[in-house]
Symmetry: C2
Subunit: 246 residues, 2 copies
């Protein structure tokens, strides 16, 4: 019996790092998604095949924890495994390891399958999911939602640019993370390291649309947390997140 | 005698492609810069060593020509060679090749050496350049400048974001290309392919600064050209470019 884990070796390059010289949170998620895409190809169920059948995977939530972000030139391995699924959700785990095998970061992601024509969630059939070998579940995982903002401290507007959209004409989910963090100023981002990110995707933005990224800082004795919400121009919540810092 | 060409194999990944499914122009330049950085490491004159000596390479101009942009998953090789240098300029050539060895794109780049403290151009000494094996030149290459704009047709404002700056606290030169092209609308960018880019860097932008990216379209019987200029808030020209399309 195979353990169904896919491994992608990678060496961190300069444009994946932020001003601190370490892998940026957005690029970390990009690398994890890359491993998931590569596994699809390896098991004979690539995204292209799914798209040709009129379906596509859409991320609804990421739960990420970080021990240490690797630096430029560091060699790492990204591991991924589709752990479980039910009628409407597929759950996937990711690990980022250093050369010694130490876990640097870990992520749990929930996906739904979208009917690309109707843009509605569709039932996950076994032919789509079986090649990845996840366990069938009867129940739906109850993942904690990010805490909601009470008082907006900082806000900035962003416009979806041409290079933010991918070949499926969607905004790459990583840009939402960058729009959330960029609102915090440079000094904050240079002086703090993210330890955990819980991000939930609600409504997709499209090319040319503008959004407002809002943030609230919660400081307690032991912990520094930022709450993030991205709103579409009509007031619809597009995405929310909670980040813990050290 | 070695030919002093460095070769970097690479496979195009989804987040390097644009909505057409092909490698974006900005990411192409990123990959070429990566090959140049890797050569520095390979010959024992890495950027970090240069930085520790108080110096850094700065790009003044790229002259790029494109035959075909590779698609997601395509395997390519990026080649680079420092071809020549004089007192103040180093010239480097790049080639992007497909698996059959066909040239997909070619770039000629001029670099100057900056004193990181004074931010002034400094003389290129032989200990810095000799490991790369370029030919010494007596003269300075006369590279054609991009044609200047006469009538602004489209303009958009951009703000330098946290994730636009690298570990040297500079804006990655590739972002200027993205700010230039994003001004053109999606339909234009989906329907046309770049064949040539001439981009000249004049004044660096810093974190938090805003700029205006302006464009003029020149249509002749045989050719479609766009002229681009990026201005800082105080009216200083930061960067200009000329792109030919098919």
């Amino acid at each position: 019996m195979t353990e169904n884990i896919y491994r992608l070796p990678h060496q961190i390059v300069y444009y994946e790092t932020d001003p601190t010289g370490k892998l940026s949170l957005g690029k970390l998620v990009d690398l994890m998604m890359l491993a998931s895409y590569a596994q699809g190809k390896a098991v004979g169920m690539p995204e292209e095949k799914l798209n040709a059948q009129g379906h596509g995977w859409v991320i609804t939530q990421h739960l990420l924890s970080v021990t240490r972000l690797p630096r430029r030139d560091e060699k790492v391995v990204i591991e991924t495994k589709a752990t479980a699924y039910n009628r409407y959700f597929c759950y996937r785990d990711f690990w980022l390891r250093d050369e010694q095998g130490e876990v640097l970061a870990q992520m749990h992601t929930a996906f739904v399958l979208l009917d690309l024509k109707t843009r509605k969630i569709t039932r996950i059939t076994s032919d789509v999911i079986a090649p990845f070998g996840p366990e069938p579940l009867r129940s739906i995982e109850r993942l904690a939602s990010p805490k909601r903002l009470e008082e907006v401290e900082l806000a900035k507007d962003y416009r979806v640019r041409y290079f933010d959209i991918d070949s499926n004409h969607h905004v790459n989910n990583v840009h939402y993370i960058e729009w959330m963090l960029d609102v915090l100023d440079k000094d904050f981002l240079m002086e703090h390291e993210p330890v955990a990110l819980n991000i939930k995707y609600e409504h997709e933005l499209n090319y040319g649309q503008t959004c407002t990224s809002k943030v609230e800082l919660l400081r307690s004795k032991d912990e520094l947390t930022t709450l993030h919400e991205i709103y579409m121009a009509d007031g619809t919540l597009s995405c929310s997140a909670q980040v813990t810092w050290r």
